[in-house]
Amino acid sequence: MSAIRFRVLPRPHEQAQRDIRQRQWNKALFVTLFLLPGMALLFLFVLMPIAQSVYYSLFNWNGFGPPTKFIAFDNYERLLNDKIFQGALWHSFILMALSLVVQLPMALGLALLVGRGSLRGKKFFRTMLFVPYVFSEVITAIIWRYVLSPNDGALLNAVLGAIIPNFQPIGWLADRNIVMFVLFAVLTWKYFGFYMILYMAGLQAIPADLEDAARVDGSTEAQVLRFITLPMLGSTIRLTVMLSVLGSFQQFVLAWVLTNEGGPVNSSQLMATYLYKFGITNLKLGYGSAVAVVFFSITFIFSLGYQRMVMSRDFGPRRS
């Protein structure tokens, strides 16, 4: 009888290590292959153009042929000393501030009114208030050019003339002191519907029980709003603030068409219209790139900081 011999397979330490490494390698390959297309697109269409803009911004370049006239930071120096650029920056900040102070609270108020209140015909109002957002920006601008025109019979001046005795028609888009506010009014008309819808969606997500419970405990409506509704709407508000700030900075089409390239005399020039007018249409692509780099830095720093510091609590698992 021969002894049964078991053959114990040697499984030395190295072999195990190799297996683990093999598995890790496979996983890495797997991940890389899946990421590759996305990374390639990101590199090609986002990172490369940014790097190119930075490179071009160091040249005096009209866009024909490769850039050859290297001028280091002259474009930036010119830019920062340019009164029109400073004005454009300031106008963009005004738009941003007005959006935050006027546009968003107005959208929130209307969302509370037509989103949940007991207003009659709120469905009708909801639709009507959202309609402007559906129009394209160019169409909006052209319609408003007719409304604001100083010529005989244009809507706004005609209406004001009917209400106010001895009313002199106003060139709404021709007055350097008011054109920015007119632009803001049109932008608000166009965009508050969008924020209103976002707020209404946020309101839907708040359980009615919570507010009812507070009411049962004797809270006034103002207290319910202040201590329940607004805090529960926090993530939506934080999101709309970010969209609004970036939107005002990037505003181009409506402003360009409505005010004729930021006129009169650059009094409604914004960051994006400045970039287009002085960079692209003037065929100064090096200078335009410098504007783009400054423009990009501002929005990038803002959105990164805002997401890190303010919106971080809206991402991922709650840490509290």
Binding site: P150, P264, V265
Partner: protein
Amino acid sequence: MFKSSRLVMIVALVALLSLSIGAAVAQDKVEIDWWHIATQEDQAAYWQSLADAYMEANPNVAVNITILENAAFKQRLTTVMQAGDPPDLFQSWGGAVLWEYAANGLVRNIAPELEGDWRDSFAAQAALNLFGQEDETYGVPVSWGAVGMFYNKALFEQAGVEIPTTWAEFLTAVQTFKDAGITPIALGEGEKWPGHFWWVYLATQLGGEEAFLKAYSREGAFTDEPFVQAGEYLKELVDMEPFQEGFLGTTHPESEGVFGNGEAAMMLMGQWAPAAQAQYSEDGEGIGDDLGWFPFPAVEGGKGNPDDVFGGGDGFAVGANAPDEAVDFLKFLTNEESQRGSAFFLVPVVKNTADVFADDPVMQSILAARDAAPYFQMYYDQFLPPAVGSAVNDAVETIFAGVATPEEAAQAIEDSAAAELAQ
């Protein structure tokens, strides 16, 4: 059932076959890519008919037309120029923009082909000169007009105003209209270029060819006396508030509407105004027979010749890689017959064509002024590099808005010119 599907298949096969034959034939042809900006149907149809006629006479040539709207054309042309791949024939306004293409080797010198009969056939020689530099030529004009004062005869009669021939008379006329409660001048300053007409005309009257070419060649400057003076004369006019309400925000079509509705007495505009004032008026008719034209009033004591004319027109430039056939086709486009046929939307530039406007006194006076001009001042914003052109428009706008002095406006133009024209 079976039969019909077989029939379909046969038809499809035949179609496929004929397509591939067509493609094979096309490959042997010389192709000419032609970009023009005549988007209106009858105008586009006219260019197409010329291309068809040429292709019939020259079966070895295929003309491929691309029609683009003005702004879209400029954008796309910029893109293909940056890629170094210009079309064979394309819309051009001549001047420094074209010269810049030439400096970058993007257009073809057609001077050898042009020499002789073809060159001599042009009535508007001053216009032809703008399509080349020194001994080289890169294209030819097909239409050339002039900027001048369009006026409403009925309003002139109503206010009892005679046609002003000098700047002083002109200012008096403006005041008379104001006193009569009539808006003297329609202006679309929202687009800036209509306002630059005023300043440039004054500068041309005050300094003439010499001052402009000196400033352009950098022997002089845009801060020289005529340019500052032009701003001062203009400011004097602006201070009288002669324009319609809100003119700083008015677009060009809107201002044509103001004039076409008979709401303003005058408008300084180019040869397209008769059509435009009708098109943009409320009834679509414009002011009809009340429309008249007179040259820009002469500025007393100016160094320019009072007959100098300001304006511009359209032409076609030849791309660097264009085949010889493209040049021949361009010659065909500018022969007397083609030019006559185009008179319904262009102002012919070759000899023996003036009679096409026999029953249009306004166009006749424009042509007379154009052909008699000793010097033709082209639009600054077309002639100068884009950045300087837009600096001129922006600076002149500051005078209209009353936010800068004539000196400051001239300085702003000079700053841009110094940076862009330095080489």
